[in-house]
Subunit: 475 residues, 4 copies
């Protein structure tokens, strides 16, 4: 270029405020690249050592805050420039057979695969809090709701475990996502590959990637793995928002199903009596930021021609923002669950209103041979009559029951009892105490297995990092 | 209820305009439910037969257009009501141990697992069109672009195969999604399970579900599988939008890289000379509808308390809309690819502008021992000089080359030749002809395997449908 | 074109399923165009009459269902083709100095300006329902909430009027929007204007457009007025969603602040006792569809080069969908408000819990010279002590009050009374009964003025329609 | 509260990282509040002076970096606490008759009304750059495009002015928005107003608000003005994205309609010949962030019950993000326009391909009495024949023209000349040079008027700030 870049343009187009977060991954990937160049004879082992020595020095400088980021276009340029300063001409050899176009994707994949694991770990922590709270309250019965109307008695533990089921799917989606993240992009060059006979499979092995991403034009255009991740995180956050909503509801005096510990509520600047469920509200409120992060990247990608376009730089703000929000919210959500206390008496009081065992009554009649729809209609009539005189199932009179006389045995009265309704549940996945115990057992087992898998991946990556970048005997 | 539903409310809250599309799945699931009720003794075999006879009759009535949908709240109510009319009191028994809350999820899962397969099949068709077009043009070289600026020579086939790689990931995501769709929800009841000892595993076997969904409160609240699907379809559509953009660009006289067959272009109402790439534009334009479908459901789900809320009815418009758009666009996209013809001369002309082999020159110098960054700088200088006098690599003079004299052999001239640049590419995934042939081979193989897997699923489901609903010897 | 359009392409690219809704506007605009062509001498008065006779005939044919839409690309082509059939060669003259590019924008603007008025009218109906319900319950006190925690006593009417204030802003935004819709696009041609000396100001006068849209390249690229509209409708729907949420909450037995009339609630297929607020849930749930309509068009428009691109055809699905949803929801929302009945006793019961007059107490102390923050702290302490022994302000003992002894007169006890708290409110916009009466009065006045403005516009447009298209003495 | 807030909760729920940006507005509003409390006798003039002295001191401390923000919940708490430290007990009086719920809305409105003006000013700067570039190139003709296919000759200035028209609408929308921002919220209290006889109209006058926002429950729940703003900014950014797309296209060698100055393009890390339009790409790419900011807040607001909920705190990240992005992009976009140079020869070359005057030919025939549709068909046939033999209008033979012999005079040949086509344009808003001159004149006039209006507002606000907070003679 005959002219140097305009200062404002430099500032406008710099991504270093964001991608400096990736420095560790850039150094790690660069070290692996240097080892491969050595293997294929483009660097001597002396040169390779010197480069990595420089990379290690830069790592230390960054971590000690001795490098000023501003003024650089991106983290890659910064590291390359500093390497040239520290190690001299050999620094000019590192960029051989590599472009920033494939390098940035490598950095993002190394970074994101770790963050996926970090998020999964925090999901596990939330799940453990849910399981522990369920375990503590194994026999506690509450009204289950549909349409925010009391519907049938359920176990409080059953309700908590619904969030286990949701987040278990979140983990499954993230682990599927991980497969598409965990594949080596480096070696795609700017877009067309390279005439230098690089060994991409060797780099993959060094960096613990199980596979090598194929078509180079696709590689440098591809941000699918990020959009998929943002979608997964948004769905996870939708689950958190539903939990947040319920905690707001339950802690409202209208319900009063739970107390939130004082250390987890805040007051009002004007109303001295207030005790607000701010944490639950904020979790619910942050959902917008995460849902919109998906839209941000989807909008950016839509209609872009191949291959790399500078628009792709805009993948970072939504990615980093979502990760930050989801990690913070998962952590505080787990602690919030620990800090709620169910109020048994209020739950029981709510059970008594609303004919919650009407379905049990119908199912009783079915066992006596009444077709379900007829039973439904008969019980509906009965409920209407009771309600019109302000009575509940507790106040049944013989005349109320006369239409049922053909079907009722002496044994039917307990069927109307709300607290024991769950004990009659007989189906897989239902609210019966035995089912809940099974669900708890299996959930605990599943978390243990998942944790093992995660730890094993983490160990593998840590070893790669050490082996590729950090550990090297002086020549 | 003491009063009947207001007429306007009935109309406002009815979902039958949409869920009538699910009638086949509602009948199929109902047949399976009846067989299970038979197995556990709540229906006699005579009753079961009678119910299924009614379901078959309703199927025929619907398919012959003899049933008026309007006036019903949803497809479930319609079928239950008609069953009662056709088969009498036994019709009142079918809803035993079942709620519309679990029934609708069953219908949606039966429906969606088939549509996923249908979409995957249409992706395969698009992929085959891409592979065929690549195969026909194996040696055709074009400029590869970054920032919409010519960057390096690539094979046209390489570019087409990038879309194969993208859509291959789409298939992987949809098949992962399928696992979470393909699990039985029925048996969750309204929210709490049931006191009737139903056999959910038997129903799963009948309906060819490999697993049974656990926690019943989660089951009736869960639309995750749809949101995940909408996200996957949106990403697939983003790929189509990028292809659409490129076809619009390439068919513009400014590029003129392709001709679209006249049967695939439209004219102008005022400008008689126009030949517009409307299909590509529409595919690109429809992306908004599909991206927004994800947002539609995400917004609906955000902050909903458990379990079923009527808001969930709004899962259907975005689901049905997305499926319709993506199926139509995939089909026409495959045919659009068949109907484009690359213009070799224009691609070659474009190759000659823009110093596309500058990177090749750098890589040549690297093999001669010049550090890459130095080579990059030297070639950059040369390009600047040539450009300033309007010359290309073809017009190099000895004095241009004098700075390189230490590094150049006689063999270097072919390195500047654009058409042969791809032949020098040596890396896995690159634009070299041998790599493209490998990619084509593997792609063909992969499609064949996938098709087999899909056909096997489809066969299994078809057999379930026949066995459960259609095939029954009269008593 | 040497080949005719592929059948599938024809189907894929046709917009007639949607734009046939615009037929009336297309006929109206065409009639105005013909009158202008007459004025500038490009049509004889005989030709003009003949064309409009044809347009009137087509109107009748469409309204009597005698025209098959399918097979046409769009409504413009259909009308032009039919005109040729009915009136012969003169039909070929109508498209003079007009392109579908400016014609479709005209149709959309004629359509949308009416729909804006229709929506504003339905907002007024909802507002009237709110005002009527407020008027009926002028003195009813309920807890006002922040964080879904009871905060201070407010008038039920005050709460309802908050929705009046929100929707009043919606009207203002829509009327601002209308100004940008209500400007004539016709005459932009395909993109560049025309060499035929058309009189755009005459057309504007005929069609009752107060102004003519300038730059022709902008005109045919512009869908801003639709995106603005979709944003306004989304915000309106967010208000409806908040109202929906509150009706769901209030009708839950946990609150039981209102009863919804039976004709506005639905039952359960399994639980005979249920009475669900489906209408409120559906209004809340439909918000996703409307919010996402904005995203749909925003995504479509993003990054489109000038001028017309076929992608713009995709403006119609989100536009028509939003209008349909918002009109239906406004209508049913107004009736829902009419069908709720506040439960005074439950509101009063809820008032008694939660120290709702703590702020009143603070404000009392302020008038006695205590700095607010100190008063806030003292009352906070008192509340904490009372709460710890399960007491309310009703059970204050002298020892509770001793820290306040310097500031309390005999008059302070009524300050703790919840039901009269609103009567002490003194600020503009507050919950005092006098303020509410003022708000009601002003609201009624404002609606009356707005209705007049709307009726006047509607009349003007109706007259243009009659004068331009319908009324014509035979030659 | 019996327990202090958990440390992690404190961190999670603090908004000070964002709302500290509002300190100036918080101080300004607090000063006005103190003056009103003085007026109604709740503060002595000594107390009022002392409070404002404290506020001024805090302003200085913040601006000199002497205040640590972290550890505070929000900017209001920080200022209140510091005021107490600096001025003693009087600091406890400032919060009288005020809640953070109305205070934060005040701060946001004071802030946003200024930022709207700032953005409008930057739009004017972009518009001036467009007008200047148009003025420099008044007679430059280029192909106008539809469907990215050359359609008709247009003036380059006409194309630039299309962006003036778009952004003029953006200004109109923002100024309409301003009306809804520029109304006083303070005095709503926590939600219900206050029993203290505050004078809200006096505060409005002090702070230069033309009106006072009514219903207090609405006031503290209302973030409509922010969502409206985000929608307006998103639409403005869509315009920028379209301009960015066009600059990317035009600077691609395929078009080569413009050169971007070297100081506004960047190179490649691997390809030494590259000159990339990064600024235009980044502007286009940033659209996702701004579109998604609207979605973020829309999702947050959807379904929230009245009145204040902590979710509302999440209005700040999308608001601040959008303002930052739009201000930076507007500034660089103006300079980008200054730094492009149209390439006359390339535009002329492109004019010659593609029968761009076919419409002119049709319009000529119309003036000779041929019905437009017939002319369209005849010219279409001619174009097809010419194209099939690779000829243009320049190579017309007498036999080509024979079908037209009845209609052609000697004067018709210039009608096919592309460069003069614009001179024949006769309609308002068209591409004729006289029209462009008119558009330029009116645009310049409009900007001047707008600037005056803006400056007057800015002056008024500045004076309020000085009068209310800064200027005070010591007692």
């Amino acid at each position: 270029m005959s002219k140097s870049l305009d200062k404002e343009v430099e500032l406008f187009s710099s991504s270093i405020a964001e991608d400096s977060q990736l420095y560790l991954y850039d150094l790690w990937g660069s070290a692996a690249h240097s080892r491969m160049l050595e293997k294929i004879g483009l660097l001597t082992s002396h040169e390779g050592y010197s480069l990595r020595q420089g990379l290690r020095a830069i790592k230390q400088e960054i971590e000690e805050g001795r490098i000023a980021f501003s003024g650089f276009e991106d983290i890659h340029s910064l590291i390359e420039a500093r390497l040239r300063e520290l190690q001299g001409e050999v620094g000019e050899k590192l960029h051989t057979a590599r472009s920033r176009n494939d390098q940035i994707v490598l950095d993002e994949k190394l970074f994101l695969r770790e963050e996926i694991i970090n998020i999964v770990e925090r999901i596990h922590n939330l799940q453990k809090a849910l399981l522990a709270k369920a375990q503590e309250n194994l026999t506690l019965v509450m009204p289950g709701f549909t349409h925010l109307q009391p519907a049938q008695p359920v176990l409080f533990a059953h309700h908590l475990l619904a969030y286990f089921s949701m987040t278990k799917r979140d983990v499954a989606r993230l682990m599927d996502n991980l497969e598409r993240v965990n594949t080596l992009p480096l070696g795609a060059g700017a877009l067309a590959g390279t005439s230098i006979p690089i060994d991409r499979f060797y780099v993959a092995k060094l960096l613990a990637f199980p596979s090598v991403q194929d078509n180079s034009m696709d590689v440098v255009s591809d941000r699918d793995f990020i959009l998929e991740f943002l979608g997964n995180v948004a769905l996870l956050f939708i689950h958190l928002s539903r939990m947040g909503e319920e905690i707001v509801l339950w802690s409202s005096p209208a319900f009063h199903f739970i107390e939130i510990d004082d250390s987890f509520t805040t007051g009002s600047s004007i109303m001295p009596q207030k005790k607000n469920p701010d944490v639950a509200e904020l979790i619910r409120g942050k959902t917008g930021e995460v849902i919109s992060s998906w839209i941000s990247l989807a909008t950016t990608l839509k209609g872009l021609p191949l291959t790399y376009n500078r628009d792709l730089q805009q993948d970072k703000p939504p990615l980093f923002r979502s990760i930050k929000e989801v990690k913070a919210s998962l952590r505080i959500a787990a602690r919030l669950i620990e800090n709620i206390r169910p109020i048994k008496e209020e739950m029981e009081k709510a059970l008594r209103d609303g004919f919650l065992t009407a379905t049990d009554f119908c199912e009783y009649l079915v066992t006596k041979g009444v077709p379900f729809r007829k039973a439904h209609q008969m019980v509906g009539e009965l409920v209407k009559q009771l309600a019109s005189r302000g009575a509940s199932f507790r106040e049944l009179t013989p005349s109320d029951l006369s239409p049922f006389s053909d079907f009722l045995d002496q044994d039917f009265i307990p069927y109307l009892e709300e607290k024991t309704s769950v004990e009659r549940k007989a189906s897989f996945g239902s609210s019966s105490p035995w089912e809940i115990e099974r669900q708890l057992r299996e959930a605990t087992q599943w978390i243990a297995e998942q944790e093992e898998a995660i730890n094993s991946l983490r160990k593998e990556w840590h070893e790669s990092f050490e082996r590729v970048l950090m550990r090297e005997s002086a020549e």
